[in-house]
């Protein structure tokens, strides 16, 4: 009862703060003429989830209210700040973190310094160069579905935002272009006990050793509608003060592909996205606390997804033009012998209706299929999202 009252009070405070901020947008949004210019953007979303589970009880709940303001400051032509705070209320599933009560997180905050036309120095917390889904596609108006792909993103086998420094840039190469990112990060932390032994924890605020994770990503666009790239990163993940694990390292790697094109023959826009992520952690011995015995396993994980969407943008009918049909298949493979992670595959489909370029209603269906164990019921979601 007390938790319910506290949660309700917090929700009311959040609603009042949100309403105040929205109505004050005009005075906050752009500064008067001068060198310092700022914008408040971000997204808000709200959802409903239903699943028909005769065994464990049906789920029918409004869920996952989120308000994620992004603040951007341009101090000069060479200095820039960007930051995002996430306020989320309610439990969740389908790839997003489940939780109760209000979750507040500093998603990222970083300072940017333009070194030259092809190089920018970034410092703080930022989306790491492991993969592209978390950096570019996880926001509610860029993600055409209502969840992350299995194993992809910061609740999967790779980091999301990390703390450190980075060098980024885009380079035109005739009619093609290349972009790159080099990261120096605190890096992930190896968990060594109980059910999480062998798993990695990300978003380290304090590095557990003096080693820094080094990673790099390259993306190539030979034409504007085609993009592919890959990344690799290594780090020592064991704690420096732990003799058994201080030399344990990890290597993240992967590749991605993106195709976006208006196709006259189909009267619309086709988007194809895919990503493959791989994680390899050095073998180590862990102690089974229940039996006191030592065990080890081949600590390799992988995840991938492919997503296809079609929007009839060239159609005549005003309502049909706003629809987007989305399908995604993905899978995650965790190490055999680990006490965490469940290998599974997932089919997900969505029908999106775009009220505006930055406002969408999504109806989605997801079905997870574990490699072992009972297949859970399918989940149905409705999500409304606005980009601010």
């Amino acid at each position: 009862m007390k938790t319910l009252i506290n949660t309700t009070i917090l929700a009311v405070i959040l609603l009042v703060a949100f309403t105040t901020l929205v109505t004050a947008q005009d005075s906050i949004r752009s500064s008067p003429s001068g060198s310092l210019k700022s914008v408040i953007t971000g997204d808000v979303f709200f959802g409903y989830q239903y699943s028909n589970d005769s065994k464990n009880g049906n789920t029918s709940t409004f869920t996952k209210v989120g308000y994620n303001p992004v603040v951007l400051y341009k101090l000069s032509d060479k200095l820039f700040f960007e930051g995002e705070v996430e306020f989320q209320l309610g439990g969740g599933s389908g790839g997003f973190a489940a939780g109760e009560g209000l979750e507040v997180e500093l998603e990222y905050a970083n300072l940017n310094f333009v070194i030259n036309k092809y190089m920018l120095l970034k410092a703080g917390t930022f989306f790491s160069c492991f993969g592209v889904f978390e950096d570019w596609y996880h926001q509610r108006i860029t993600n055409r579905l209502t969840s992350r792909p299995l194993g992809i993103g910061h609740h999967g086998i790779e980091p999301g935002t990390e703390m450190g420094i980075a060098l980024n840039g885009g380079i035109p190469l005739g009619s093609a272009k290349l972009h790159y990112a080099i990261n120096l990060l605190n890096g992930p932390t190896l968990l060594t006990e109980d059910e999480d032994a062998g798993n990695l924890e990300y978003e380290s605020i304090i590095d557990n050793n003096t080693n820094k994770a080094l990673a790099a990503r390259i993306g190539i666009l030979p034409v504007s509608w085609l993009e592919f790239g890959g990344w690799i990163g290594t780090s020592v993940v064991g704690g420096a003060k732990d003799p058994a694990y201080k030399n344990i390292g990890a290597t993240h790697s992967g590749a991605y592909f993106s195709f976006i094109k208006d196709i006259d023959a189909l009267n619309g826009t086709v988007i194809l996205r895919s990503q493959y992520s791989n994680l390899s952690v050095d073998k180590a011995n862990y102690i089974d606390t229940a039996t006191g015995t030592s065990y080890t396993f081949d600590n390799k994980s992988s995840a991938y997804y492919a997503q296809l969407s079609y929007r009839p943008t060239m159609g005549i009918n005003k309502i049909i033009k706003r629809l987007e049909f989305v399908g995604r298949y993905g899978a995650v493979d965790y190490p055999g012998g680990a006490k965490w992670g469940q290998d599974a595959s997932q089919w997900a489909f969505a029908l999106d209706y775009w009220l505006k370029w930055n406002a969408v209603i999504k109806l989605s269906y997801e079905q997870n299929t574990p490699v072992k164990g009972t297949k859970p019921p399918a989940n149905y979601f409705v999500q409304i999202a606005f980009g601010l």
Binding site: V39, T41, F127
Partner: protein, 82 residues
């Protein structure tokens, strides 16, 4: 697998070479259409003010890693037509 990657890369380079207009020679309108829909739907130029576009396009340099020449031309296009 390695053969597939090599073939794909060579094909991509050939496609890239076949396209005639260099990035530095494209107009702001073209670059806006080619870049802004990569992740999200392209916002109309009337959505934001000139000052806001300046900030938002800079943000796209840091996040989407668009090139400097693309950022300048896209910003100029959006500011002139909002």
């Amino acid at each position: 697998m390695k053969k597939v990657v090599v073939i794909f890369f060579i094909t991509a380079v050939i496609i890239g070479c076949a396209t005639t207009t260099k990035i530095v020679d494209r107009s702001g309108t073209e670059l806006w259409g080619q870049n802004c829909g990569r992740c999200h739907n392209s916002p109309p130029s009337s959505t934001y003010s000139a000052d806001q576009w300046e900030v938002l396009v800079f943000h796209m340099k840091t996040r989407a890693l668009i090139t400097d020449v693309e950022a300048k031309k896209i910003a100029a296009f959006l500011q002139s037509s909002n």
